[in-house]
């Protein structure tokens, strides 16, 4: 009846080969992709230095909005700003990780600060607010998109270097942010007119907390109120994740709790409140963690919420897993000492990012400028113990 009879021998052969294939599929790819993970997690070897070398080339070259083609002029401007901001954070973290090269990395940070202060980089925020973020510090225009993030970089620079030519600007921005937060009925700053994002406020609040560490000034009363509000009103009670967007008129959520905002928010807030950062991280791990074949991934939406497709914040969402959430969560694993999850996420970052090493530099081939700078900041994020020790050593 059958032309080719299935003999016991051929069946056994097929079974053995299938088992070997599945064994190879399950054990080799993620282990191969994560082979550098332990070294990076423990800051050994020179991979982070190679990423720093790549970032130095990036910030030394003149790049503009035309290098980003998101299809929106505003987002191109945001990505240009984000590239310098994240690179600066990476350099600052490298200065803590490699104290012997602190001067070099602080100098690279200053390059980023100068670029961020250039009119071309300020333009995206200026267009949205119809006022310049730095020239209008006495006004009531919040400018959280620019000032919240930029001030975090300035405060980190001050913590590392002490007084510098940027100290006065750091003072002025901090005063403006604190005043605007205090005046806000929802204790949130507007990213753009009428738009309130908790993640951007995490950066602004953390920048004030870090400023206090660096200078000894005290905004603790305001910060406590902000964090309390963030924990109670802007964090979803069911999942423990940050809402992506808030309606400024009543303080109610205007979007779902999401992975991209929470993962980035917990990174920022770790600079001032490690415990809150940890509670967000544990929520991410509980609600959003997933993966396949040993490759880790972070979902953009918790399973209890019916998520939509991705947007500019989430990046591509593939089978529910968000590109941004997965990348940003790497920082959380380092901050909170979760080597197992770091390994899983690093395997994914390696597979999808396609790192290419040449001339002492590491370039994530699929990342582009913004992807490389984000990976640099996330892969050098300081564990809470490292950061606490550094602050203790420098008497902050």
């Amino acid at each position: 009846m059958f032309k080719n009879k299935i003999t016991l021998k051929s069946f056994l052969r097929l079974t053995v080969l299938s088992v070997l294939f599945l064994f190879g599929l399950y054990f080799i790819p993620h282990n191969w992709c994560a082979r550098e993970a332990v070294r990076i997690f423990h800051n050994k070897g020179d991979i982070q230095n190679r990423m720093a070398a790549q970032a130095e080339i990036l910030v030394s070259n003149e790049i503009g909005r035309e290098n980003f083609k998101t299809g929106s002029d505003l987002f191109n401007g945001e990505w240009l700003f984000g590239t310098y901001m994240m690179s600066g954070m990476g350099f600052g973290q490298m200065a803590v990780l490699c104290p012997d090269r602190k001067e070099e990395y602080c100098f690279a940070m200053e390059k980023c600060i100068r670029q961020i202060l250039s009119p071309a980089v300020r333009e995206f925020d200026k267009q949205s607010w119809q006022s310049d973020p730095v020239d209008s510090l006495n006004s009531d225009h919040d400018h959280a998109a620019y000032l919240g993030y930029f001030n975090l970089l300035l405060s980190l620079h001050r913590l590392l270097k002490g007084e510098s030519e940027y100290s006065e600007l750091n003072d002025r921005i901090t005063v403006a942010l604190a005043r605007r937060l205090d005046k806000s009925p929802v204790l949130l700053l507007q990213t753009y007119p009428g738009e309130y994002y908790p993640v951007d406020n995490c950066a602004a609040i953390a920048s004030i907390g870090l400023y206090d560490k660096a200078t000894g000034k005290d905004h603790s009363e305001l910060l406590e109120r902000c964090v309390f509000r963030m924990k109670n009103d802007y964090t979803d009670k069911k999942t423990g994740l940050l809402y992506q967007c808030i309606d400024g008129s009543n303080g109610e959520p205007a979007d779902l709790p999401r992975g991209s905002g929470t993962c980035l928010g917990l990174y920022f807030i770790s600079f001032m409140d490690a415990e809150f950062s940890k509670s967000l991280y544990l929520s991410v791990k509980r609600e959003l963690r997933g993966g396949v074949l040993g490759f880790g991934g972070i979902k953009e939406y918790p399973s209890s919420c019916k998520g939509e497709r991705g947007d500019i914040d989430s990046g591509p969402v593939i089978f529910g897993y968000g590109l941004s959430a997965t990348g940003f969560a790497i920082a959380g694993t380092r901050i909170h000492g979760d080597s197992e999850m770091f390994r899983n996420l690093y395997a994914t970052a390696y597979l999808c990012g396609a790192p290419h090493d040449a001339d002492g530099k590491r370039n994530f081939v699929t990342g582009g400028h913004i992807g490389n700078s984000i990976m640099f900041a996330m892969m050098t994020a300081l564990s809470k113990d490292e950061f606490a020790k550094f602050c203790e050593r420098s008497g902050k």
Binding site: G24, P29, N363, V365
Partner: protein, 98 residues
Amino acid sequence: MNLKLPLKNKNKRDAIHVVVIIALYFIIFNYVSQKDIVSTLLTAGNQASTFDLILCLFFIVLRFFTLVLLPGILLAMVGSLVMEYIVAKTKAHEKLQD
């Protein structure tokens, strides 16, 4: 017993395919990393040229194939060769005994 197992043409062909895929992957990897065209595709999408678009998609597919599927395929190929060797060795042994 001195047994020489000649490689079958099919096995040779499979091995050549694997080598070609790996070589092709590294050539394209170097090309796209130097030209930074994958990130252009991912961020610019429709603004990339058709050639870049095809090359990038091919690179992404090839990377996933090479890193995720190929190890399992190679392991199964090696397993297949080992099984053939064992069968040939058993047959030769049986012949000697006869």
